[in-house]
C-alpha cells in the first residue's frame, strides 16, 4: 500500500506533463470570462475571425452580463463529436444565474460559439449508457442466479446521496473562478473518488458478499441512468458510452464486494484507500479526456476500470457459494 501511495504522485507528475497550453475552447471561455478578446483571437478560424470581431465579442459579452450578471466561473459539461467538429458544452456561472454555451472546434480552431438553452433531445443514444450497465448487471445476475432487488434499490439511493454531495464540491473551483486547469481535473477526480467510494464503503461493509455486489450494481446502474439523463439534456452519446458504463458497473460491483470481503478480514480501510486511489485516477483521466480527447487516455481509463473489476472473478464465485444466513425465526 505504501508503494502504491509513493507511485501515485509519480503518476500525477507524468499525467500533469501532458497538460499543455490553452485549448481553443478554453481560450474562448477565458476570453468570455475576462473580456480579453486577445486570448481567443489566435484560436479563431478565418471565417470566425470575420464574423466574431472584437466589437461583436464585446457586444455579445455585454449582453450576457446584462442578462445574467458578471461571469464568475465556468465548467465543462460535455463534449459531442459531429463529423470533423467537436462541440464543447460549458456551464457559465454568473451572478444572477447559470447558462450554457457551446463552442464548436475543428482542427484546433474555434468555428462557432452559441448560447444554448437546455432542450430535451430523445435519441436512441440516450439508451447507450443504460444498455451497457444493464448488460453488466445481467452478467452478474446470470452468474449469481438470485437477484437482489432491495440491494439494487439501496445502491440507487446511495448514488443519489453521493451525487448530491459530489456535484457542488466538484463545481467549487468553477465558482471560485478557476477552471480548465490540471488542478480542477484532479479535484474533480478526487471528489468523485472520495465521495463515491466512501458512500459505497459505509454501505457495503458488514453486508454479505452477494448483497454488497448488488449494492455496487445498483450504484452503477443509477450512474448510467444519470449519464443517460445528461445525454438527454446535452446531446448525443456514442456507443463507447455503453462500453464505459458496462465497465463502470463492474467496477462499482467489484469495489463494493471488495469492501464487504475485506471488512470481515480486517483490511477494509486499506481496500477503501485502494479503491479511492483507483477511482481518483480513472475519473481524473476521464475528465482530462473531456478537455483533450486522445485515444490512449481513453484506453488507459478503460483498462484501469477493467483491471479494478478483476476482483469480481474471485468475489463472484464466493458470493455464489455463500450460504444463506441461517435465521432463527
Amino acid at each position: 500500500m505504501r508503494r502504491l501511495l509513493l507511485l501515485f504522485p509519480l503518476f500525477l507528475l507524468i499525467f500533469s506533463g501532458t497538460v499543455c497550453a490553452l485549448t481553443p475552447q478554453e481560450a474562448m471561455m477565458q476570453a468570455l470570462k475576462t473580456g480579453n478578446y486577445s486570448i481567443v483571437e489566435p484560436y479563431l478560424s478565418p471565417l470566425m475571425k470575420a464574423a466574431f470581431t472584437r466589437g461583436e465579442f464585446r457586444a455579445i459579452r455585454e449582453g450576457l452580463i446584462r442578462g445574467h450578471g458578471a461571469i464568475t466561473g465556468y465548467e465543462l459539461l460535455r463534449v459531442k463529436t459531429e463529423g470533423p467538429y467537436r462541440v464543447y458544452y460549458y456551464r457559465v456561472i454568473a451572478e444572477k444565474g447559470d447558462y450554457t454555451v457551446t463552442i464548436t472546434v475543428r482542427d484546433g480552431r474555434v468555428e462557432g460559439f452559441h448560447l444554448k438553452g437546455f432542450s430535451i433531445t430523445l435519441t436512441p443514444a440516450v439508451l447507450y449508457p443504460l444498455a451497457g450497465a444493464i448488460a453488466a448487471l445481467l452478467l452478474i445476475w446470470l452468474y449469481l442466479k438470485r437477484f437482489g432487488v432491495a440491494e439494487v434499490l439501496f445502491g440507487l439511493a446511495i448514488f443519489l446521496i453521493a451525487i448530491a454531495v459530489q456535484s457542488p464540491l466538484q463545481s467549487l473551483p468553477a465558482y471560485l473562478g478557476v477552471a480548465g486547469s490540471l488542478g480542477t481535473i484532479l479535484w474533480g477526480g478526487f471528489v468523485a473518488g472520495l465521495i463515491q467510494e466512501g458512500v459505497k464503503y459505509y454501505s457495503a461493509r458488514g453486508k454479505n458478499l452477494r448483497d454488497a455486489i448488488y449494492i455496487g450494481s445498483g450504484f452503477g446502474l443509477t450512474e448510467a441512468l444519470y449519464i443517460g439523463f445528461l445525454t438527454l439534456l446535452l446531446g448525443s452519446a456514442s456507443l463507447l458510452s455503453a462500453l464505459e458504463r458496462f465497465l463502470a458497473l463492474l467496477f462499482h460491483s467489484s469495489t463494493a464486494g471488495l469492501f464487504s470481503y475485506s471488512h470481515v478480514r480486517g483490511w477494509g480501510k486499506r481496500a477503501f484507500l485502494l479503491a479511492f486511489l483507483v477511482h481518483w485516477a480513472a475519473d481524473s483521466m476521464a475528465l482530462y479526456w473531456q478537455y483533450t480527447p486522445s485515444t490512449w487516455i481513453l484506453v488507459v481509463t478503460y483498462t484501469t476500470l477493467g483491471i479494478a473489476s478483476l476482483p469480481l472473478l474471485k468475489l463472484l464465485p464466493q458470493a455464489k457459494a455463500e450460504r444463506e444466513r441461517r435465521v432463527r425465526w
Binding site: V149, A150, V152, L153, G155, A157, S203, I215
Partner: protein, 109 residues
Amino acid sequence: MDELTVVTTEGIPGYRVVEVKGLARGGVVMATHIGRDIIAGLRNLVGGEVKEYTEMMAKAREIALQRMMENAREMGANAVIGMRFMTSNVGTRMAEVYAFGTAVVVERE
C-alpha cells in the same frame, strides 16, 4: 455446567440455584436499509409476510440474546433463568429488542 444455560422458567429441573449474580441484559436497535424498506412497502400493499422485517427482527433477537449471555458470563454466572424478550419502536423504521433475565450460578442437585 460448562455452557451457559438460558431458560424462561424460574428454575432448571435437576439443578439448584446457589448464587444470584444479578440482572443480565443485552439490547440492540436495528434498522434495515432503504432498499429493503421499499420492498417491504410494496409487500405492505399486497399483504402477506414482510420477510425483510421478519429477518431483521430475528437477527435483532439473536444479537440481543448473545449480548445478554455475554453479560451473564462476565458476571460469573453459568445460567440465566426467567429470560424474557422485550421490544419497542425507536423512530419510524427502527426497532429495539431487549433481552433480560436473572444471572445465576446453578449446581446439580
